[in-house]
């Protein structure tokens, strides 16, 4: 079953082309790695796939729904870890998650589970700005799975993760459909079945089917 069917996604910023006619297909349960240098368009593509941004042109269907029209419905089943975590610095890790429970309409008991899952159970009471970059990233990942989303979109989550980050990602990605942008080819190899390479906003190369190495 197709989760993401995207055709000819194009994103223009003024007269610059961020994305140029990109097609993406992702099936249920698949993990897709989006590779490419900085400025290749990874973040632009991921934001569109997460419904955080709308493309200038092109079509996008997620879970069979038109992503532009059904945005609110889709966001309920999508988890997004953006480039900037967007956490509340004065609030503790737990309070950050509790707030999002209210927004997501999810029971507060989930907070303890998620804190455990991302390894922040001991730091739960610490204000977010006093957490290390790695811990903040864990918190952002935890927030993204609070509502148990079926589709997870991760924009370079490994960039500031500390050790054990790859394990955390593997745990979090298990059983979900995932699109993950990363620089780390080894990580992509380990976690994903397929890759998509971007350069200057275009898809380049024939995507390889990777062997998942455990």
């Amino acid at each position: 079953m197709s989760v993401i069917v995207a055709a000819s996604l194009t994103q223009r910023f003024g007269s610059d082309l961020g994305l140029d006619a990109v097609d993406v297909d992702v099936d249920a349960g698949e993990h897709l790695a989006v590779l490419g240098d900085n400025g290749a368009g990874k973040t632009t593509l991921l934001r569109i796939l997460a419904t955080a941004a709308r493309p200038t042109s092109g079509s996008l269907e997620i879970f069979g729904l038109n992503a532009t029209i059904e945005r609110r419905r889709l966001r309920a089943v999508i988890g997004f870890v953006a480039h900037a975590p967007g956490l509340y610095p004065a609030l503790s890790a737990r309070e950050n998650l509790e707030f999002y429970c209210t927004l997501q309409g999810v029971d507060r008991t989930r907070v303890a589970e998620v804190l455990e899952m991302v390894g922040l159970a001991e730091l739960a009471g610490r204000p977010a700005d006093k957490l290390s970059r790695g811990a903040q990233q864990r918190l952002a990942i935890g927030r993204a799975v609070l509502h148990d989303p079926k589709l997870l979109v991760l924009d370079e989550p490994d960039a500031s993760l500390d050790s054990g980050g790859a394990d955390l990602l593997a745990r979090v990605m298990k059983g979900r459909t995932v699109v993950i942008a990363t620089h780390d080819h080894a990580l992509a190899n380990r976690l994903c079945q397929r890759t998509l390479m971007l350069r200057h906003g275009r898809v380049v190369g024939i995507p390889t089917r990777l062997r998942v190495v455990h």
């Binding site: 007269s15 097609d23 350069r199 200057h200 906003g201």
Partner: protein, 235 residues
């Protein structure tokens, strides 16, 4: 290059000709006002321009609401055109108002309801055009401008009302408005009709310009030449 006159040029010529006709009515047909003298003749264009200005803002409102509802780019273009033409007419209204005020009230400005709300209208139009210029071009600019247009359109009568109300607390200069004799009324209606037509022609011309500008913006800078790679889809 096509020879012959485009329909826009024809429209422009017709509108200008009609304004000359209106000028004829104003200066030759309408009698001189007994109380205010020749300065009173400004009134015909001043009030017509004010009505045209608010009419243009109605166009901005309708275009904006239509855009928010259906994301119809043509509606947004119409709103853009209406805002620019409206700003012109608002400026005309303000300037004529000040020219008229000086000999009548002895001052260029007074904070009565009409002058104040016209000034507010001008500021709102200016804000509308600024947000269009400063926001991300395309969807964001159109959305933000539409919201500004909605609030602006509602704000002008609200401001007018509040200043009128305030004036009942603090009486100020009163406009001497005798009932207009028939000749003046006719001159006024002729002028108003011609001015509205002029506004409509100007909006049509500006709309066409916006279409051409949008088309030019569609043409994107060519992508940089890179080393040959195989380009394909994700599958």
């Amino acid at each position: 290059m096509t020879s012959g006159i485009t329909r826009y040029e024809r429209g422009a010529i017709a509108a200008v000709a009609l304004m000359l006709v209106a000028a004829g009515f104003i200066f030759l047909y309408a009698p001189t006002d007994a109380l205010q003298g020749p300065v009173q003749r400004i009134f015909y264009l001043h009030v017509s321009a004010a009505i045209a200005a608010y009419g243009c803002f109605a166009v901005v409102l309708i275009g904006g609401v239509a855009y928010l509802w259906k994301e119809n780019v043509a509606a947004d273009r119409l709103a853009r055109a209406g805002a620019m033409v409206g700003l012109v007419f608002t400026t005309v209204t303000l300037v004529m108002g000040m020219i008229w005020a000086k000999p009548i009230w002895g001052t260029y400005w007074t904070w009565d309801a009409r002058l104040t709300s016209t000034l507010v209208l001008w500021i709102i139009y200016a804000g509308y055009l600024m947000i269009r210029r400063l926001a991300d071009p395309g969807r964001q600019a159109a959305r933000f401008a539409a919201v500004v247009g909605i609030f602006g359109f509602i704000d002008v009568p609200v401001v007018h009302f509040s200043v009128t109300w305030w004036r009942t607390q603090h009486p100020g200069p009163v406009v001497i408005n005798d009932a207009l004799p028939p000749q003046m009324l006719i001159a006024f209606f002729v002028t108003m009709a011609c001015t509205l037509l002029l506004a409509a022609v100007m909006i049509a011309i500006r709309y066409r310009i916006e279409v051409l500008m949008d088309q030019a913006a569609e043409r994107v800078a060519p992508a940089p030449i890179v080393a040959p790679t195989e380009v394909g889809s994700a599958r």
